[in-house]
């Protein structure tokens, strides 16, 4: 029989990375494990871009595992939304891997380093699987794969007799993450009980007949809260600051760029593709819950960030606030709003990855991420802190950065629904962001050095990925067709009802 790789891209997207994990584990050597991880990740990125192009040309791609037809077997279902997210996740992983090599050498013991890349591969495979699959239960399985490896990735922060608090952070995330996963599987179970199917498209077709039952409403609540917990939606964010702070720097880069975004994707997928826009927004009015929580997340996250004494923790609280912006955009409940949310998901991944990379480079040179470690390092590490400054400007939303694009679409799309009040709020909250970014800048450039370490620029293998992302932060502000265009078409398709 004729064999063409092209038809198998949806499954290869996941299994290339998944297969690379045991291979990397068998090598037991850091460099070999890293190389396998990098190659697998690069292949995943290539496949994701091919899928994105293919979806734009020919529409939805469906792949049936084991040749079993969709409602019975597991079907992978690639549309614009998940193709876009697949590119994002595999790109962040591919760019962050060259960065991690030196950072991990510095932070982990020789014994744990190969394992780090194994967990990394499993985590990325899980995230890609969540995105690619069209089966609700398969989402849960991949969610567990990515979550379990994430717990290990965070716990490795305690390696080398370092920060024992990483164990605590990891355990806390494990407990809360398990509750989130349980809620998700209860929700899926209730849906299965009412419809007898696990395929998302099939669920969407069968749910309207039973949507006025209490079971379906309960399923909805379980799914929104479960995915909200995974996405660190305020007030379910409590696992996030500790996890991002005490994890190895490279882990924080990967998590900040991908994991909460994927959880938000799952929520969007259920809200809009499975339950349907009419049910979620017009029937249940989920936006009435999302909006106040998003506003509180932004205020609380930004205010906490301003008062942090640790740069990683500062960025973590900022992530809580930024997730708030994404939910704020989604709560607008129009195609423009959802597009704005997607745009910000992509852009926030770009900026947060840069910022965590910059802080990771400081950890590499100064041995810690507390503000006194950073003090006075601005002149000694101009490239690192240049990246930090540009990433920070992007976070605030200064023109000519992707942050501006995010804020622009958020503000314009919210004008119709919420009026001027929200515009004022977004602008005011940006000032808070400016405040905490300024703290980093102030400490780095205008304070004396407070410890005795060699003042030296970070190694090139860390700077290069950092600056690739900095340039992406600027590039996507000018050529916004990839992000804005795709996000708007995605939102239009999602709300148009057609899968």
């Amino acid at each position: 029989m004729e064999f063409g790789w092209g038809a198998h891209l949806p499954i290869l997207q996941v299994i290339v990375v998944l297969l690379a994990a045991p291979l990397a584990f068998l090598t037991r050597r850091v460099r070999a494990a890293w190389l396998i991880a990098f190659i697998a990740s690069a292949i995943a990125l290539w496949i994701a871009s091919r899928l994105l192009i293919q979806v734009q040309q020919d529409g939805v791609i469906v792949y049936q595992l084991g040749g079993w037809a969709a409602p019975m077997g597991i079907g992978y279902h690639i549309d614009l939304l998940n193709a876009f997210m697949l590119v994002l996740v595999s790109a962040i992983s591919t760019i962050a891997l060259p960065y991690s090599l030196r950072s991990i050498e510095n932070e982990l013991s020789a014994h744990s380093q190969p394992l780090f890349y194994v967990y990394w591969l499993l985590c990325v495979a899980g995230l890609l699987g969540i995105l690619a699959t069209g089966d609700a239960f398969n989402v849960f399985v991949f969610l567990e794969i990515s979550a379990l490896s994430t717990y290990a990735l965070i716990a490795l922060g305690s390696d080398r007799g370092g920060d024992r608090r990483a164990l605590h952070a990891s355990l806390r995330y494990l407990l809360l993450g398990s509750i989130g996963a349980t809620f998700i599987v209860i929700g899926i179970g209730l849906l299965y009980m009412m419809t007898g199917t696990l395929n998302m498209m099939d669920l969407a077709a069968r749910l309207p007949a039973v949507e006025d039952t209490r079971t379906v409403h309960a399923a909805f609540a379980f799914l929104v809260i479960g995915t909200g917990l995974k996405a660190a939606m305020f007030p379910l964010h409590t696992w996030l600051p500790d996890a991002y702070t005490h994890a190895p720097s490279a882990t924080s880069v990967l998590l900040a760029g991908t994991s909460t975004k994927v959880a938000i994707y799952v929520m969007l997928r259920f809200l809009i593709s499975v339950f349907g826009f009419e049910f979620s927004f017009i029937g249940i009015h989920v936006e009435l819950w999302l909006l106040p929580l998003a506003v509180l997340a932004i205020l609380y996250g930004s205010l906490c960030a301003v008062y942090q004494m640790d740069a990683k923790r500062l960025l973590a609280y900022s992530s809580v606030a930024q997730v708030g912006y994404i939910f704020l955009a989604i709560s607008i409940g129009s195609a423009a709003g959802i597009a704005a949310g997607l745009i910000h998901m992509f852009n926030h991944a770009l900026m947060k990855a840069v910022l965590f990379m910059a802080i990771g480079a400081v950890v590499y040179r100064a041995g810690g991420s507390r503000l006194f470690h950073i003090a006075g390092f601005g002149r000694a590490m101009p490239w690192t802190f240049g990246a930090l400054l540009l990433g920070g400007m992007s976070l605030v939303g200064v023109p000519f950065t992707v942050g501006f694009i995010s804020k622009w679409y958020l503000v314009t799309s919210s004008l119709d629904t919420y009026g001027l009040a929200l515009v004022v709020f977004v602008l005011a909250s940006s000032l808070l962001a400016a405040l905490y970014v300024w703290r980093l800048v102030d400490v780095a450039w205008f304070r004396p050095v407070m410890h005795e370490r060699e003042l030296q620029e970070a190694p090139l293998s860390m700077l290069l990925p950092m600056w690739v992302l900095v340039l992406a932060n600027v590039y996507f502000a000018f050529d916004s067709d990839l992000t804005v265009g795709i996000a708007q078409r995605t939102a239009a398709v999602l709300l148009g009802g057609a899968p």
């Binding site: 029989m1 004729e2 064999f3 198998h8 499954i11 299994i15 998944l18 297969l19 994990a21 045991p22 291979l23 584990f25 068998l26 792949y63 049936q64 595992l65 084991g66 040749g67 013991s109 014994h111 744990s112 394992l115 290990a152 716990a155 490795l156 305690s158 390696d159 080398r160």
Partner: protein, 146 residues
Amino acid sequence: MQHDLILRIAAKLLIPMIMLYALYVQFHGDYGPGGGFQAGVIFAVSIFLYALVFGLPAAMRVFSPTLVQALAAAGVLLYAGVGVVSMISGGNFLDYGALNPGDRALGEHIGVLLIELGVGITVAAVMIMLFYLFASPIDADDSGGH
């Protein structure tokens, strides 16, 4: 318990039986209750019994931690490898029928057998690994990860 004659003899009698039973559950899984997961756990139990009676170091000489880790990875590779081979043979991922295009039923049979074997190997290895981790003294390996 190393000096307890009755326990040692009983264990020596039981361990091969347990292993054989594990293999029965493994390969009978196609026709009746059973399969790789249950078989893997049962097989691991025989090693637990050995370790409990003859001591952890003796068990680790038979199944060294390195070997156990390699087996855990190999099982996953076998599972996914069957999927990839069925893909190269012209079917979809995990479409075992494609393994033997002449007689699809036989292909399905081979495919399930191999996949369950992969599951069995990984489950047994992971169970043994967990047992080793919990049974080992904590300070033996304090580097934080396994």
